[in-house]
Point group: C2
Chain length 208, copies 2
DNA sequence: TTTTTTTATCACCATTTGGTGATATATACT
DNA sequence: AGTATATATCACCAAATGGTGATAAAAAAA
């Protein structure tokens, strides 16, 4: 006969695992991934580090499990109520502007994006795969048909704009400097970027 | 009377300082800035770590001095032989394409760019200031007069394109994933990006 | 040559870090 | 109630890391 799993108030494996995962998130948001050390994670979780080895196998696996548990790109996906009779022009704009704002506000996502530029962690690669896959739906179903032979140009432009958005948002978070004279932290600076994004989408769709 | 500075073959302060600075560069290129530890730097330099404290005051100051010694953005500056009767259209294109290639090849610069997104080191801030200042010449003298009331739109677009270039180049170096379906590591992928850059500059100048 | 000073090494320490075996105890089962 | 076991803690270790005082040795000055 199976023994019932322990779920007391003091001893509770599932709750402890949760505590560790939460601790990873907290440290990631506040100190960044370079601060993700066993001792510190255990301290923040309020539990013994030995449990990290027992429950996850080690810090790396714990971190991987954390990344998997957070569906960072799930919110990014399509706004279904937008019409696409314009070949995705409105959708493209909305998506870029939304991401520009979303990444700016989500410090944890910023850390994750940066992490993906620094390390080759398998769980981070999977994140990138997910992002690619969800984006592919937009391309294959909407923009590719609309742009035909120029579909790759549209993709290249989106690649530049999206990665530019990432960079500028992160730059603004860690830096007080301007970029090309723009202060991406301020309302005015961000407005300029937003108008530029909108402008460029218009131009790509005009030139089809 | 001043004592002559020591410059033997075995003991030579200036050469030793050089060795430390070179060691920093080597580690930065090969292992990244997270590997810049006193013991490792000393080992690579082939000297005792005590000298790092004696000559520079510590690892941080040594690293700062290294960053200052490398004029990372000096090469980026203008190509003076390009005419600017087109309001800087050709210059803008050439600059973007050149940077796209330059950053892709220069792994050390990639690390520095990333570093600037992670830490708030004063020497890195100075680097950013330098970059801004050298770019400002282009804006103030060429694009601002040409674009008039739309000068900030041009700057915002350049900010997006340049930061997109940085991101994609670094992404390509550390990642095997595609981005918006493009493989920025391959000749074809990079060609698409280059054409997109060129296309967008044209559009901005058309719409003036 | 002898002395002085600069340059470099060495031995050593404290702290941080990752990791584990032995042990205690809360919970579940009988 | 008593017993078994999953859960959690503790003490401890080895290696890595940052940092320094005492000392050796090379080069310059006498």
């Amino acid at each position: 006969m199976e023994r019932k799993i322990v779920e007391g108030v003091v001893r509770n494996k599932e709750k402890s695992k949760e505590k560790f995962l939460n601790a990873v998130g907290k440290i990631l948001r506040t100190k960044g991934f370079s601060a993700l050390k066993v001792n510190d994670i255990a301290a923040v979780a309020g539990l013994d580090k030995k449990l990290i080895y027992n429950y996850f196998g080690g810090t790396d696996q714990l971190i991987d499990e954390y990344i998997k548990s957070q569906d960072f790109w799930s919110n990014v996906k399509n706004e279904p109520d937008l019409d696409i009779n314009d070949g995705g022009q409105g959708l493209s704009k909305a998506m870029l502007l939304w991401q520009f704002d979303y990444v700016f506000k989500n410090k944890e996502l910023q850390k994750i994006i940066l992490w993906g530029l620094l390390e080759n962690r398998s769980s981070l690669k999977k994140l990138a795969d997910d992002r690619e896959e969800s984006g592919d739906a937009l391309f294959k179903n909407i923009s590719d048909p609309h742009f035909g032979e120029h579909s790759w140009r549209y993709r290249a432009i989106m690649a530049l704009l999206i990665s530019g958005i990432y960079y500028l948002d992160i730059y603004a978070s860690t830096n007080d400097n301007t970029f090309c004279g723009l202060n991406v932290k301020t309302e005015e600076g961000r407005k300029e970027i937003e108008e530029a994004l909108s402008f460029m989408i218009d131009k790509v769709y005009e030139s089809k």
